[in-house]
Structures are given as C-alpha cells and as structure tokens.
C-alpha cells in the first residue's frame, strides 16, 4: 500500500510534559466506562495515558442518578424506607438501618432490645453479603474467576435468609421506623446458625485461592496507596480508612442499635494499599461472623417493634377486634405520621464506610429534606489520588478495592 495509514481512532492530546520542562508529550485519552466490565456499574473514568501509565484520572458519575433525595421529599416517612433499599443495592438492610435510626432519633423513639439485636444480626449478615460481592467482583477483575462464583454461592444462601425474613432477596425494606416490618419467622435463627457454622471454612477457601497466591499479591501489594492524612481529609471511610491504620469504626466509636453490647475487633492494617484493604475486609467478615454468633446466642425475647401506636403499624389480629388499631392503621397508611421539627444526622458503619442520613423535618409527615451521605461517593472522590501514576491494569484493581456501588454514588 502506497499511502501512509493514519492510526485510526486514537485521540492524541498535545500538552506540556510533566514538570514544565517544555517537553512535548503525546498522551492517549481513554474513556473507561460507563459500559465497561470492571467499573462496577456505570462509573466512567476519563484516563489520560502515557503508554500504559495513568497521567490523569477523572471520574465522571451520575449515570445512575435516580433523584432519590427528591423522591424522598414527596413520600411519607415509612415509604422512604423502600427508597433506601435502592441506594446501595448490595447492602439494603444497612441503608434501612441508617434511615430508620435517623427517623427514630427525630422521633426520640425507644426500640425494644429484640428488634435492636435482630437489626444488628441482619446488618452484619448484610455486611457479609456486600463483602462477598466485593471479593467476588474484585477477584474477577484481576482474573480469578473461580473466587467470584464461590462467593456468589455463599451469597445465595444469604439472600435466601433475607428472603425468609422479609420476603425479598434484595429490596428487603425489613427495618421500619419503630422496629421491624414483621416478626422474625420461625426457623430463621436456625437457618442463620447453620450458615454461620460453615461460613468461616468458606472464607478459608477464598483465602487459600488468594491470600498467598503470588500473582494476587503482586497485583495488589503497594498499589493504590493513600496516606492516613489524605484518607481523612478526603473523607474516606470504612475498610479503606482502616487499611491505612486508623481504627475508626462507628460501631465502636459512636455505638448505635446496641452495638456496644457486642464483643468484636476492628481489624486494621497500616500499608494502605489494595492488599491491605483486601485483608481488612477478609478480617471484617470473620468479625461479622462473631457478632452474628453472639446475636444468635443472646437473642433477647420480647417485642419486635416499639410501643408507639401512631408510628408503628398495629398487629393484624388486633385490627380485627380493636377499632383503635384499625383507625391507627388507616391513618398511618393513608396520611403517615407527623415527625417533630428539627434536623438530625445519623451515621452507621456500612460495609463501604460511613453511611449517614441527614434529615430535616418541618413537623409534617414527609421529610422536608433527606440527604444520604454515601460512603461510595466520598471514597470515589479519593480515587484519582490512588490511581495517578499507576498502570492501566492497576485501575481495575484499585476501583475494585475501594468497593464502590454506583447506586450508592449517584443515588
């Protein structure tokens, strides 16, 4: 062929070389996502590449924005619970918990211990569920396909447990303002007990495939480092923060829902790299198992929802004999319940980090403003700091390690 062929489809940017040396560099702009197998949903990264080295990374979000905060303003307080499931769809019960705790704080409601313990137990199972999806997809990104399917095998049982409790596998909406949606069904505790009894062996199985695998260690060690000072300043929370050596965990620091009654460790590492985050999450899974086991052993008897007639729905059988119950039911369902004016911020330790709800009430039955502070959003903000200067192949490892859920980022 006589003619020169231009390299097709390659955008070349001309800019000054790093350090202002006046050197001309030719960098490649690579659009990663929103349709990409390893951006965990619809994250779009605009990467400026010099060879395979990332010069600049710019996350572009919003592809999954559904306006949940706006919708929440037009719904009654009890209806918003169903919206919270859909934010971080891998940890619906943790979302539920953060939301109902915020509303209960506004209402100054006392929750019976049995409900609190059940909440803790299910929130920890949700953490396991979320960490399993994280481990599976993270390993898949790095090429270990088998771990992915092993994790989903165990997750299946967890989803069945959630279905048993709430009737739904993912969009559970099981925690309601004032307690639980339904009394925990018979046999639930036995089923959880059974799961907990074999699950630690499964963690060993995942670790056997990864922890000492030299390819895995090579792909994750010393990659995606962030310093403790940066991590705090950029609002990084959760396992990513604990992987830089800061033992910050809201379950210990600002205990909620009777977490102070449970004995557990807060695993930390000091390396601050992808491998450290992996080890922290693996250790967290074992701690969660411990918490669930304690909850099973010491599960209190008693009511599963607060005695707050205007807020919690009355029992079904009561409604057949008591006119007051029927009226309360009708009123709550049709016109909600009024919440005293004020503003609260309640944060819990979700699987990804601090999951906070800021709610402003104007005294009416609908939240005047409901803002969700999601861990993924803040953690993602620190992503360019971890990526820049690394190789393209590290991008997927680092994105996997901060464990974002795009529903959580975009809301």
């Amino acid at each position: 062929m006589a003619t020169m062929i231009e390299t097709p489809g390659v955008t070349v940017t001309q800019n000054e070389g790093a350090g202002g040396t006046g050197e001309r560099s030719r960098n490649l702009i690579l659009n990663m996502g929103p349709q990409h197998p390893s951006t965990h949903g619809v994250l779009r990264m605009v990467l400026e590449l010099d060879g395979e080295v990332i010069v600049r990374a710019t996350p572009d979000i919003g592809y999954l924005h559904t306006g949940i905060e706006k919708s929440a303003e037009s719904k009654y307080y009890q209806q918003v619970v169903t919206l919270t499931d859909r934010i971080d769809y891998l940890a619906p019960l943790c979302n539920n918990l953060a939301y109902v705790l915020a509303v209960e704080k506004l209402l100054q409601l006392e929750i019976p211990r049995r409900a609190q313990w059940t909440r803790v137990m299910l929130a920890e199972l949700t953490r396991l569920n979320s960490h399993l999806v994280w481990l599976g997809t993270h390993a898949l990104d790095i090429g270990a396909m088998t771990v992915f399917l092993y994790c989903f095998r165990e997750r299946e049982e967890l989803l069945k447990i959630f279905e048993m409790a709430s009737g739904q596998r993912m969009m559970t909406s099981y925690f309601r303002v004032g307690g639980l949606a339904l009394e925990p069904p018979l046999g639930l505790l036995e089923r959880i007990e059974n799961f907990i009894s074999y699950f630690p062996d499964k963690i060993d199985e995942y670790e056997a495939l990864l922890t000492k695998n030299s390819i895995w260690v090579g792909r994750t060690k010393d990659i995606g480092y962030i310093s403790p000072a940066d991590a705090v300043a950029w609002g990084v929370t959760g396992p990513c923060l604990r992987a830089v050596g800061l033992p910050l965990d809201l379950r210990k620091d600002s205990p909620y829902s009777s977490y102070n009654e449970f004995q557990f460790e807060v695993p930390t590492r000091t390396e601050g790299d992808v491998y450290a985050r992996y080890l922290v999450r693996i250790a967290e899974m074992r701690e969660s198992v411990k918490i669930v086991r304690q909850a099973l052993e010491g599960m209190p008897e008693g009511a599963w929802k607060a005695d707050a007639p205007g807020v919690t729905l009355p029992d079904r059988d009561q409604m057949k004999f008591s006119i007051e119950s029927l009226i309360y039911h009708f009123k709550i369902v049709t016109e909600g319940f009024n919440v005293p004016a004020g503003q609260v911020y309640h944060a819990i330790e979700g699987p990804r980090g601090q999951m906070g709800y800021y709610i402003t009430s104007d005294g009416g039955p609908k939240p005047y403003r409901c803002h969700m502070r999601s861990a993924s959003f803040a953690n993602l903000q620190a992503l360019p700091k971890m990526i820049e200067g690394r190789l393209l192949a590290d991008v997927v490892a680092i994105i996997g390690s901060i464990d974002i859920v795009l529903g959580d980022v975009d809301r």
């Binding site: 062929i5 390299t7 097709p8 489809g9 390659v10 490649l28 690579l30 659009n31 990409h36 197998p37 390893s38 395979e52 390993a139 898949l140 990104d141 790095i142 090429g143 270990a144 396909m145 088998t146 399917l149 092993y150 095998r153 495939l209 990864l210 695998n213 390819i215 895995w216 090579g218 792909r219 190789l391 393209l392 192949a393 590290d394 991008v395 997927v396």
Partner: protein
C-alpha cells in the same frame, strides 16, 4: 507413489485433519466450559442435546448468523485480513505434527502426519511467530483504543515469550540431534522421555506456551477486566469465531509440541493384536495432549491474571536467563557424552 496419488492422499489427509481439528476445537471448548463449570460449582452447558453435547453446533450456528459489524473508521482490508491471518497461521502449524507412527489403510502405507519435513519444529516456531500479526493488525485496524492497547500488549508479549519458548526447545533438540518432530519422538524411544533430563526446559516451555496462546494467567491482550476483550473487542460473528478458533488451535498445537518433545509423543507400552499396535500410539498421543489441555483449563479455573509489566519482567528476567542456562548445561552434557 505417483504424483496424482500423492496429491489425492495429501488432500484426503488434509481434509481429515481439518475435520478432526475443528471438531476437537469445538469439543475442547465444550469441555472447558464443563470442567471449569464443575470447578466453580456450576454445571456448564446442559440444554442443547444430551449433557449439552450439541452446544458447539449451536454456537457455530450462532456465530454464522450474528450480524457482522465493521466499526466506523476501521481499516477495512486489514480488519478482514487479521482474523484470516490468525486462523490460517494457526492451522498451518498443525501440518507438521505427527500424531502416531505409520499405518496401513486400504493397502496404502502412510505416516500419521500431513508432511514430515526435517525442520518441522522450526516451521512451527516460525509460523506461530507470524501469528502475532493477526493480533497486531486486528488491534490496529479496528479503530478502538482498547483494541490498540490489547494489540500492543499482545505484540510485545508474544515476541518476548517466543524467545523463552524457542530456547526451551533447544535442549531437547540437542539431545535428539534433529529438528524433525518424528525424529525427536524416535530419539526418545531409544533414550527416555525428554521430560526427565529437560525438566527445567519443560516448565519454561509450559509457562511460555501459556503466554504464547494468551491464556490465563497471561491473557493480558484480551484481559476483559481492563480492556473489554482486547484486540478482538470490535470483532463479531464469524470474524470473532476465527480468533476464537485460532486460539484453541494454537492451544492444541503447543500441547502437541509439548507431548512430542517432552512426553515421548505416541510412545507407550504396546500389547495385544496387530490392529491394537496400530491404534494404541495414537491413543497415547491423544491422552497426553488431553492432559495438557486439561492443565490449561485447570489453570484457568485457579489463577488470577498477571499485570503487564510483571509479565514482561517475568519473561525477560526469569524465563529467558533460565532457558539460556538450561541450553548451556545441556550443550555441555551433550558435548561431554
């Protein structure tokens, strides 16, 4: 043998080999899905035919019927040439591979091989080296950055590991004193399988072969986690199927070479009646090749993927020096013998 008879015989053998090879590719792929499925606590394909045995046929029909997309701005000629190149080169290297001794069918005595040239191994190495053109041209011509990056990786990876692969084969060649694959196998009949004296070369060859065929843990050119599907991201339908075919044929080729050079080819204990003496070598050969293919699948179910720079470092800093050292030691031994 007259010229006409030679041509007819060659043509018949070509068709038989092509048929067997394509069927083998289809079923290796099914076996891979089944075995990996079992390893990952799944069942694999079960719906098409008994135990999913007709799945490859369904796949083939799908590949033929799918829309064939050529991206905007692709370099048409090279875009079409690349998969053809890949598949032709992959098929070419199988021609010199003997799958057994000589047999007599309908009174015609013939070697179980398309052609026995005295530099068979060299031809295979040469042809597989050319295979990189398919990858590079595909990535370059399809007007996509992911493809381009995949092709860049593929190009450098295949060239680097080619070296280790070739060096690993030098040891056995020196021991056998021939480049003919048939000669190498027959040399092992007198001595012992070359895996015994050349165990280091065997493992170097095995590792390099994984890289050469772009399989996990060296599947960087098509690392789906990062690059979509790498150099064949933009390909669809039959063109994609051709890359697919080429990958599996290459897998078979390197497994065959490993069997011939290190595991004594079709050598094995012979017993029973005369017809069994004819069949058994081929059976041994196929069993040994299947062992390698199973290894491929097994590794895929176990390991994560290397990173690009780690892969290059491993190739140049570990495999090549090791292979060179092995060549030196072997030549010393051969010289002293």
């Amino acid at each position: 043998m007259s010229t006409v008879a030679f041509f007819v015989l060659s043509l018949v053998k070509c068709l038989i080999v092509l048929f067997i090879l394509l069927t083998a590719v289809a079923y290796i792929q099914l076996a891979e899905r089944k075995i990996v499925g079992r390893m990952q606590s799944r069942v694999g394909p079960t719906r098409v035919g008994p135990f999913g045995l007709l799945q490859p046929a369904a796949d083939a029909v799908k590949f033929i019927l799918k829309e064939d997309v050529t991206p905007d701005g692709a370099h048409k000629f090279l875009y079409i040439l690349a998969p053809i190149l890949a598949v032709v080169l992959a098929l070419l290297s199988i021609t010199v591979i003997p799958i057994g001794g000589t047999v007599t069918v309908f009174g015609i005595q013939t070697a179980l091989q398309l052609t026995d040239i005295n530099v068979g191994l060299l031809l295979i190495l040469g042809v597989t080296s050319l295979g990189v053109y398919g990858v590079v041209l595909a990535g370059w011509s399809s007007n996509s950055k992911y493809s381009l990056l995949g092709a860049l990786r593929g190009g450098s990876q295949m060239i680097s590991y080619e070296l280790a692969l070739g060096l690993a084969l030098i040891g056995p060649i020196m021991l056998a004193g021939t480049l003919s694959l048939r000669g190498i196998v027959e040399a092992q009949a007198h001595l012992h399988w070359f895996i015994v004296p050349e165990i280091v070369a065997f493992f170097i060859y095995l590792t390099a072969a994984f890289a050469e065929t772009n399989r996990i843990p060296f599947d960087l050119p098509e690392a789906e986690g990062e690059l979509g599907a790498g150099y064949h991201t933009e390909y669809s339908a039959m063109k994609f199927a051709m890359f697919f075919l080429a990958e599996y044929v290459n897998m078979i080729t390197v497994s065959c070479v490993a069997t011939l050079v290190f595991l004594g080819g079709w050598m094995g204990p012979l017993f029973g009646p005369t017809w069994l003496h004819m069949v058994l070598p081929t059976v041994y050969f196929i069993v040994k090749v299947c062992f390698f293919l199973f290894l491929y699948i097994w590794v895929r179910g176990t390991l994560p993927r290397f990173r690009y720079d780690q892969l290059m470092a491993f190739g140049w800093k570990v495999l090549v020096p090791l292979a060179l050292a092995n060549v030196m030691v072997t030549s010393l031994v051969v010289a002293l013998r």
